[in-house]
Symmetry: C2
Subunit: 310 residues, 2 copies
Amino acid sequence: MIRTIHSDHCHLGWDRSIKPVHFARSGETIAFSCRDAGNGHYHHESTAADILTAEPANANPLTGPVYVDGAEPGDALKVTIHEFSPSGFGWSAVIPGFGLLADQFAEPKLKLWDYDTTAKTPAVFNDIASVPLRPFIGTIGVAMAEPGNHSVIPPRHVGGNLDIRDIAAGATLYLPVAVEGALLSLGDTHAAQGDGEVCGTAIESAMDVEITVEVVKGAAPKFPRFETRGPIARHLDERGYEVTTGVGPDLMAAARDAVSGMIDHLSASRGLSPEDAYMLCSVAGDLRISEIVDAPNWVVSFYFPRIVFG
Amino acid sequence: MIRTIHSDHCHLGWDRSIKPVHFARSGETIAFSCRDAGNGHYHHESTAADILTAEPANANPLTGPVYVDGAEPGDALKVTIHEFSPSGFGWSAVIPGFGLLADQFAEPKLKLWDYDTTAKTPAVFNDIASVPLRPFIGTIGVAMAEPGNHSVIPPRHVGGNLDIRDIAAGATLYLPVAVEGALLSLGDTHAAQGDGEVCGTAIESAMDVEITVEVVKGAAPKFPRFETRGPIARHLDERGYEVTTGVGPDLMAAARDAVSGMIDHLSASRGLSPEDAYMLCSVAGDLRISEIVDAPNWVVSFYFPRIVFG
């Protein structure tokens, strides 16, 4: 029987002095019960007004930390991700002051999701759009070498709030250990998200996840690295994509142009409100760098999967 | 019988004063015969030394321009891409002073490719790596409103050297018309390239391509936009991906870290030289922006398809 780390064993922020909630051996399989990034703030009766009462300091609780026996600075912590048990309830939001186009979206907007806990059927957004699901871990990392409490919002070279949509079942992640025992924590589980997480939220949802931890001596990567064993886009790409671009000398501006272009395009072609288009882009669309060599102008493209519209 | 624009009808640079080589009606299907981006400089006996004798001013010749009847500023030129007839010979190169990691790769390196002209079988890179093919148009655009001759290297809001790997058969591209007649030109055909074109070259290859042009009145997009009708990664994703990341406050630095990490990883795990790994990354790997909202740090990921190694 494997050990389950309950979601009550959670912490806010990264801090190497937080006492481990479990001491694991290298090779051990562990279940983590994860709260959602809103730390339980949202429920079925929530409205957009509740976005304004969410306390940022309570956001993104992480389950852990787990001390892994034998892990030392310079080692890699290998994390194999087995399976997810999603809760079936989730939320997405336009949060004032947060997100790629925060300057263009001042009003709060909330979308609540009830979705299939097997993640096999798309989650209904509205009467014209449904989003294919693929649960993954939004935040996974090890403690930083630097003492003190560090915000959980930015990701760092030791991992954290990476929001990489393919850190899903079947992936194997390598994190650089920075302190003795590694002190692995994770949370911020997502039922679906596109590359970029452009509005700032995915389908945020509490889940249980089962993983195996293993120490690989002396193999610390400079930044997180992972492998994923199979196709990663078959749930999305059957009907192709609508693609908008941004072209110019600044990747951030080009990314903003590409996403703005898609919001305009989806609003005009599908009759979506800009806020709904923005949230759909965040949970289903992908930001890619198409070229980064034709100086002085780069191309960032935003790919929106047409399967969302059936 | 459709009109073929011969590759002798080519120009260097974008200039609205270049005389059209064909006057097309809206809805007409046209074949373009395209030179490679090296303008015929490379052949089966070429070596890395030939990279240093390539004249930059001769690079990236474009077939055209084609005047499309009825196209005016403010319209969209809709270009439907039908099919490619690739030549079967191509080249990739590490060009000193060019590419995402130009500071790390000072020596020229040349790879010549002989590939299946049906593009159905992967092109052999060496005894351990082969690259799945998907021909596309690297440079496609319309004349700029500004008079004078403008370098063909940077892409712009009117298109040009976009190097978007999905402007392939089955795609429909919308370009903003900036001058009367649009003055469409294209070239720089590629047999394969990943998102980013990180070393600065794809599998550069002369090809014929058949397209249909159509004027959509008053529908100019701000930047190029396209649709692609079907799966775009099935030739690549069967065996999953190796993924490296870069994490930090600057997207360009993060992209460089992600690609450097992959070169190190492929060199260590597969025994490739750094130059070979860099070229393989350029023709087969994808740069994605995994998150762009968790201020102040963003995550850029580089996805390398394992199918390249069989």
